[in-house]
């Protein structure tokens, strides 16, 4: 048999997390350990062991041939990023194993490893070095990186002054140009503008043609189809399907699993009661174009279209906003003067709620819409999903990151 060697071989891989870890309030106090005895140091907290565990990924096996591009798709929380983190050795598998042939460069989030105070030039060296490159290797690739990122003029400017576009460009350029055999890319291109996304995709095609192995996570099915020959569909941490990319993506789209930036209902399956019927919901950016990715500095416009059967009903529209599974807030057009809630007559109505810029924190957000009519309610369930990206290079703790007035 002379089939190609595989660059990545994964056998029965699993990763178990403790629910509730990765948050802020979970840290233990050393003070308590000292009081309770030193043995506690080497153990995880008892109360933590009693915590619920869950498998972010389980029983995953796959093979990626050398020089091929492999797509990873699935809903939010399916375990895509976890898979890449395991391959790049950032976190340790709970079970199973991964065999790798070659060095790995990963771009799991924009600007990873960039320090805002350092200049573009300094960050290129820093970043390359973190990815295991020697100084000499980085020097060799330096001009190409700068060229690709189109930041020659700003090389000696601290990256905190970069626009988010420049930021992604540089981050992508570094990861894609380093002399590694395997490249892992997680959903980072969504931040850049359309022109740059194209450039990145064609760069990845080149990179792949030159023999690098690529693993590519994206919610953008068109680019996965374009770039990848094979694809895996993850669903709640399990493999739903591994096959040719076209086939997997078709099944995925058919399953209608992907929550998107809009949802249009037909007459039958629309959430409805005898007074109102939902027609469509969607997300728009500042220029009122449909969008699924937003920067923290951009407002998010939430549009709801619904149909009312009769005049004279008390109708209140609203939605629930979730971030990474946490209920963030509910919003509604309700008036405290009940009488004033009679304002949507018979016909089709469109309401738009503007979530102001600089309120939402980075990450995945989901929306559920609710319409209250008289004393009844119709709900859509979580139907829309969008992603907010950090404009600011460092992560911000907390569920929201409002920009507040400071009196100094």
């Amino acid at each position: 048999m002379t089939h190609k060697k595989s660059a990545i071989t994964i056998d029965d891989l699993g990763k178990r997390y403790l629910l509730g870890s990765g948050g802020g309030e979970r840290y233990r106090a050393l003070r308590d350990v000292i009081v309770n005895g030193i043995t506690g140091l080497f153990k995880r907290d008892r109360s933590q062991q009693e915590q619920k565990e869950f498998w972010a990924l389980r029983n995953v096996s796959l093979r990626v041939e050398e020089g091929k591009s492999f797509g990873v798709i699935g809903r939010n929380g399916a375990g895509k990023s976890t898979l890449l983190k395991l391959i790049s050795q950032i976190t340790e598998p709970t079970e199973g194993e991964i065999r790798l042939r070659g060095r790995v460069a990963s771009l799991l989030e924009v600007g990873t490893g960039f320090h805002p105070e350092l200049t573009g030039r300094e960050n290129i060296f820093m970043n390359g070095s973190i990815m295991g490159m020697t100084n000499a290797e980085i020097k060799r690739k330096f001009d190409e990186i700068v060229d690709f990122a189109e930041i020659a003029k700003f090389l000696d400017t601290p990256v905190k002054r970069y626009s988010s576009g420049m930021y992604v460009r540089l981050a992508f350029a570094v990861a894609a140009h380093l002399e590694t055999e395997i490249l892992l890319i997680d959903e980072v291109l969504a931040v850049g503008d359309a022109k740059f996304q194209k450039k990145c995709l064609s760069k990845m095609e080149n990179v792949s043609a030159s023999g690098k192995t690529i693993m590519f996570v994206s919610h953008n099915m068109a680019s996965v189809k374009n770039l990848c020959s094979k694809c895996i569909w993850l669903d709640s941490g399990r493999v739903k399907m591994i096959d040719d990319a076209d086939k997997v993506i078709d099944s995925y789209l058919l399953a209608g699993e992907e929550m998107g930036a809009q949802k249009v209902w037909n007459d039958q399956d629309a959430p409805q009661n005898s007074w109102v019927k939902m027609r469509s919901v969607r997300l728009l950016n500042e220029s009122e174009e449909p969008a699924a990715n937003f920067k923290t500095s951009e407002p998010v416009l939430i549009e709801l279209v619904f149909e009312v059967a009769d005049d004279g009903n008390r109708i209140v529209t609203g939605y629930h906003m979730f971030r990474r599974g946490t209920f963030l807030f509910s919003a509604s057009d309700q008036d405290h003067n009940e009488e004033k809630n009679i304002r949507y007559g018979k016909g089709v109505h469109k309401v738009v709620c503007v979530v102001p810029a600089n309120l939402l924190n980075y990450g995945e957000h989901n929306l559920e819409f609710v319409i209250g009519v008289n004393n009844a309610q119709i709900k859509t369930g979580e139907v829309l999903s969008f992603r907010v990206f950090n404009d600011y290079p460092t992560e911000w703790l907390g569920e929201v990151r409002p920009k507040l007035e400071w009196r100094i």
């Binding site: 870890s21 840290y27 790049s88 340790e92 065999r99 790798l100 990873t112 105070e117 350092l118």
Partner: protein, 272 residues
């Protein structure tokens, strides 16, 4: 090309020296970054590195040498304390920097793989600059007070190395502890305060009564500081038994730190 296997590590965790060699430049890069940022953000950074030990020296000389009239082993009191401040400040700065190092670098830890041990180590390395600055000042002071170095000076690198190991040992402990216990942040300043008085920084260790010497020497810094004084000032040679005790305590600190760090390292990215 050889295949690498990634799986859950079990049992005693060994250190992959080959991998550290591959990443050798990253030690310097991270230290260089820390230094760059420190001096970029505050032009007073360098000034502070000069003023802080000098000020401390003056205070110690006035209080312990001048008012309390503690013995100074035949050298001017300022030189006596400054010689000790060299390793002590290095140690204290390392403690501060390394205890925050992992948490401060959480963004890269959760998104890129590299041997985690590089982070606290670089934090300790980045203190070398301040150390060098202080060293230059010391040489100036020796000229001023006309203290001639002796041949013992040749042994100084050995004690610098010991100071480094002591700082790294504590750094490994504190950085890993800080990932899980965020109150470490509040404990460190207290440890530094206490450590300063339990180490012969403001005084000569010759004032410690002989029957307590053994217990006193369990502090790894005692051996280091006595060694520094012996090398630089030609102070009486440290008692070899006590030096041994100090060095063994240091090795214990370092090895236990390494074991604890390696054990916790596997989950840094998950919980940080």
């Amino acid at each position: 090309m050889k295949e690498r296997i990634i799986k859950r590590r079990k049992g005693f965790i060994s250190i992959d020296l080959k991998e550290l060699w591959v990443y050798r430049e990253l030690f310097w890069f991270l230290a260089w970054r820390d230094i760059l940022i420190r001096y970029k953000q505050a032009a007073i950074g360098i000034a502070w590195a000069v003023v802080q030990p000098l000020l401390t020296m003056v205070v110690f000389s006035v209080i312990f040498g001048g008012l309390a009239k503690l013995p100074s082993d035949g050298v001017p009191y300022p030189i006596l304390t400054f010689t000790a401040l060299l390793p002590w400040q290095f140690f204290a700065n390392s403690m501060r920097a390394s205890s925050q190092s992992l948490v401060g670098n959480s963004a890269i830890i959760t998104k890129i793989y590299f041997p985690r041990i590089i982070i606290p180590t670089s934090a300790v390395i980045s203190g070398v600059i301040d150390f060098a600055i202080s060293f230059v000042i010391l040489i100036g002071m020796m000229g001023w007070f006309r203290v001639m170095p002796t041949l013992n000076f040749l042994f100084l690198p050995l004690f610098i190395f010991l100071a480094f190991i002591a700082a790294l040992g504590v750094g490994l402990w504190l950085s890993a502890l800080n990932v899980e216990f965020r109150d470490v942040f509040y404990i460190v300043p207290f440890l530094i305060q206490a450590g300063q008085y339990f180490s012969p920084v403001a005084y000569s260790s010759s004032i410690i009564p002989a029957q307590w010497k053994f217990w006193y020497s369990l502090n790894p810094l005692v051996g280091v500081i006595d060694g520094f004084r012996w090398c630089i000032l030609g102070a009486p040679a440290p008692d070899w038994n006590n030096l041994m005790v100090s060095t063994l305590a240091m090795v214990a600190l370092f090895v236990s730190g390494l074991i604890y760090y390696k054990k916790m390292e596997r989950t840094f990215a998950d919980i940080i």
